[in-house]
């Protein structure tokens, strides 16, 4: 199984590093439009790495997976988000709960944690791309952090989608991708989820005249 040369693993490692870098820059980004652009770049990096793994290992289904990622994460979902933002006419800057340098420091802590967690597992991996499992876990956790520190609804959704990117990367890097039927199902869920998010945005705006999540903190225990 392990026939791919060092070139492929170098390339995948490069893209993995890019993915992590993009996750960090999303964490630091204040503007929504740039956030969407970063998100589509992340999707592109994911598609490219899947393609490389597919080419060097000859797993036909990974080509599908790469194409699916390209269509969904680089074209369709960013386009939907752009349209949504145009229709809602919200191009505001993103407010964060804690300031960005602190967030970055927490992010670095999360990375270290992720690598510590992934090391014993990575050592058992037989795939060419095993060293990337830590990066995948780190980008999942960074997206999680982004969802926690953002006040507005759209960045939260982008955080959620970026988390899905990290998970897909984990699937390709550690295991050569899940079986195709599962991957199709996941893609469908992500797409439907995005649509529902879109519908939600309109409802929320209708009710609250804003997409600020702060308005939605009335339900709590007294």
């Amino acid at each position: 199984m392990n026939t791919a040369g060092p070139l492929s693993s170098q390339l995948v490692n490069l893209l993995a590093a890019l993915l992590l870098l993009l996750a960090f820059s999303m964490l630091a980004q204040r503007r929504v439009l740039s956030l969407i652009r970063l998100f589509s770049w992340q999707g592109a990096a994911l598609a490219a790495s899947t393609l490389i793994v597919a080419y060097f290992t000859g797993q036909a289904q990974l080509y599908f997976s790469a194409a699916l990622t390209l269509v969904l994460k680089v074209i369709l979902i960013p386009w939907l988000l752009h349209r949504l933002i145009d229709r809602l006419d919200v191009r505001w800057d993103v407010e964060t709960l804690i300031n960005i340098p602190t967030t970055m420091l927490v992010g670095i802590g999360l990375c270290i944690f992720a690598f510590a967690l992934a090391t014993p597992i990575s050592e058992m991996a037989s795939t060419v791309t095993r060293s990337t499992l830590g990066i995948a876990l780190a980008s999942v956790l960074l997206s999680f952090l982004m969802m926690i520190v953002r006040r507005k609804a759209v960045p939260q959704v982008i955080g959620f989608l970026a988390m899905e990117n990290g998970l897909f990367f984990a699937a390709t890097s550690a295991t050569y991708g899940m079986p195709l039927v599962v991957e199709l199902g996941i893609a469908l869920d992500v797409l439907v989820g995005t649509f529902i998010f879109g519908i939600f945005f309109f409802h929320i705006r209708e009710q609250f005249d804003s997409l600020d999540i702060r308005h939605m903190e009335n339900l709590r225990e007294d």
Binding site: I121, F160, T175, M178, V181, V182, G185, I186, D189
Partner: protein
Amino acid sequence: MELALVLGVPLLGALLMAGFGHRAWAPEANAMMSLATLAAAALLTCRVIADGPFTAFNEQVFVDPFNVFLAALTAFVAFTTALFSRPYMRTEEHHKRVNSARLRLYHSMYQLFTFTMLLTLLSNNVGLLWVAMEAATLSTVLLVSLYRTPASLEAAWKYFILCSVGIAQALFGTILLYFAAEKVLGPGGNALLWTHLHAVRGELEPTVLSLAFVFLLVGYGTKVGLVPLHNWLPDAHAEGPTPISAVLSGLLLNVALYAVVRSKVLVDGALERNFSGSLMMGFGLLSVVVAVFFLSRQRDIKRMFAYSSVEHMGIMTFAFGMGGPVAAFAGLLHMTVHSLTKSAIFFAVGHASQACGTQDMGSIRGLIQTSPTIGWGLALGTVAILGMPPFGVFTSEFMVLTTAMREQAWATPFLLVALGVAFAAIFGKVQPMVFGEPGVQRLTHGPALIPVFVHLAIVLLLGLYMPPYLVDWYRQAAAFIG
């Protein structure tokens, strides 16, 4: 064949209702579709009893005593809830809380929700199980926000975000599981099939599997409503339409717990020490204790019973965590009786809050005088859920407690105190609602109370006498997971 029917009928129903769900006859059609699903599930059950477990559709779907029992329960409660939903949604329409477009959405998503739950239960592919579980979340999100009030939107948003994040953790767990399985079974579709995984569970890599279980427990545990991941649950129950509260509490939580138990069986095979069991006992006990202390602080009746669901899911998680045939038997029985009782309570609560025009417990008074059947339904349901004999909840809680005394003695005081606190809190609040001075209007559409009493009668029956074939059935399932 039966499998195709069980899954096909609700899917067809969802399509049909997407087109005609706003018609005057839609509520009846909805109930008919659910009845057809129930009939198919009954046929499937008969076949499993006769022929034993089997797989179908290229091994993607499988049936064994454990999941067929839950599928039958799901189909049954989905049917009775559809019956309850007829007058309930008509009254809501009469009060102008929903319009015809939303009714169409409601009926279509109701069927789709049934489909996704049944698919989750019957799926043999743990990846597909994840997909179906996520689809179950997506199909109910728009139902929680059906009234489009600020509070309901907030509840739905919380539900959506928390459950999506939770379920993303479960996906990571599934990926890790695949990662471990691929080494033994080789790459490809087989490595995610539960039956294959189960066959080789002793050879799976223990470190990977224990990490995978943590992610799976956190992920699916969010949907079970385990503390501290339970935040979405009371809001979603309180703000959505009551039939949805009933199926969320009675069915979805069970289905999520089913996914956790399935993962536990795999992990237990690979690990020597009782790692998964300890985690589940810890989470379960924490849920029980935290939930009961929230009970007395509630003012909204549906919120209070939502917290009661957290408590009961905690008891089940604890029981499955203890493991062993008796505890697993008790867990399964508790799943059944809780699902039936809690949905019956929500039916009664739905009619009561419609009759009083509020969900505020301070304003609901004297149900027994103005509408005795609703009052009795609520009173009996409450007595049943609090674990009073001779109802079935008593039997299962008694079994959990006695097993805990023998095997996990440290946990018994917590459980006993929690049950006592829950009793004081809920009984103290329900008693004036049922027996106080009345202030209730008449409902525009006669309430559907047959489901309430049918459910309670079954729970009573299970408490007094369990038919031998049912005991056999539970035993088989318990041996399978214990």
